[in-house]
Symmetry: C2
Subunit: 194 residues, 2 copies
DNA sequence: CCCGCGATCTTGGCATCGACTAGTTGGTGC
DNA sequence: GCACCAACTAGTCGATGCCAAGATCGCGGG
């Protein structure tokens, strides 16, 4: 168990990622600086590059990690019980609000390496889980076209999460908590009509 | 009509904004540089600051312009005829795809000055037009809660536009053009059920 | 035991950027 | 024709991303 004083850091990779999450969460990805991450981790300014190559590498790693976290949340829901599309959406929104830095980077292709094999694999996994969740919904509630229903569900959750994060829905939502509002909106659109 | 050679540029403000739109569209807002914008406009590296104060000023101006363009598109639809919520959504998506640079900046509060009075006014206008569009839909198609229906409609359109822009829907949508897919998704969620 | 070798980290340097300051140009109103 | 002010230029500073070269550590083979 190394102290913080050895020449080798021990787990610089994780330290840099955690620092990046902190910076992005509080100041946005625009003010992310490799040198600042190095300072926060207590290493020299070029050390992070040995783990991530460059700035885009850090953000790509964050995007991959984000997809893993989101995929795990999806898997939770799908394993737990019968198809609950709404619950999948709630998890999506919750993930976006609890892990804003990851969410931010995941959907900004200009920030990361979109052709990274690990990233593509992680995207593949979450996309597949989402599709599976939609496919498991009875067709009389989501229409015949599974792809279209997936697009609709994903768009609703993604749009809600993005707008909420950007503080665009505050006036419309009143003081209700985000998950409750989202549940109501999803019920309005996907639930049966009277 | 001044040639390009005078000491005074003539309309540097517009030239900088146009250059910014070009850069953001092709390379993303991350690689935007005031000095590059100045070079593209053929002026010295500090000239743009006299019109926009700093980088955030350029992006704030772009966000305002984006809200104006979107608001005009909304007003078109609302003036034209009876309430057509779907058409409002189609315009939203079309705007996002035709003016990606504006759209990008509008919903990234970390890039601009979110407390700018002009920006707040422009946001107010588009938000009001959207709410009006939703309110004009018969309540039996959108439920009783106007705010909730606005959130749902906005989320759907915003999420669809964002995901499409990020190239996340390509596999799901096949080769169908975006507006057609969006119309189908909106019909699925907001239209009557059989 | 120690030696060498790769992984990890440091140091130094270069081009570029954002922002600040001071100075220059030229049109407009008086 | 003159004074003033907005528009623009020129020079500078600290910080950044990335590259190259060197230092340190730790692990396994002899």
């Amino acid at each position: 168990m190394p102290g913080a004083r050895s020449y080798h850091h021990g787990d610089l990779r994780r330290a840099v990622l955690d620092a990046a999450i902190d910076v992005i969460t509080t100041e946005g990805p625009g003010s992310l600086s490799l040198r600042d991450l190095a300072r926060r981790a207590g290493v020299s300014h070029a050390a992070p590059a040995h783990h991530f190559t460059d700035k885009a590498g850090v953000l790509t790693a964050l995007a991959v990690e984000g997809h893993e976290l989101l995929g795990d949340a999806f898997a939770d829901v799908l394993d737990a019980g019968p198809a609950q599309l709404q619950e999948l959406g709630v998890r999506y929104v919750r993930f976006a609000l609890q892990h804003p830095a990851h969410f931010e980077v995941m959907f900004r292709p200009d920030l990361h390496r979109r052709d990274s094999p690990e990233l593509l694999a992680a995207q593949e996994r979450t996309g597949g889980l989402l599709r599976a969740g939609v496919a498991a919904v009875p067709a009389d509630r989501r229409g015949q076209d599974t792809e279209l229903a997936t697009i609709a569900a994903w768009s609703l959750a993604h749009g809600f999460a993005s707008l909420w994060r950007g503080d665009n829905l505050g006036r419309l939502a009143g003081r209700r908590p985000p998950e409750e509002v989202f549940r109501a909106a999803a019920e309005l659109l996907f639930g049966q009509r009277p």
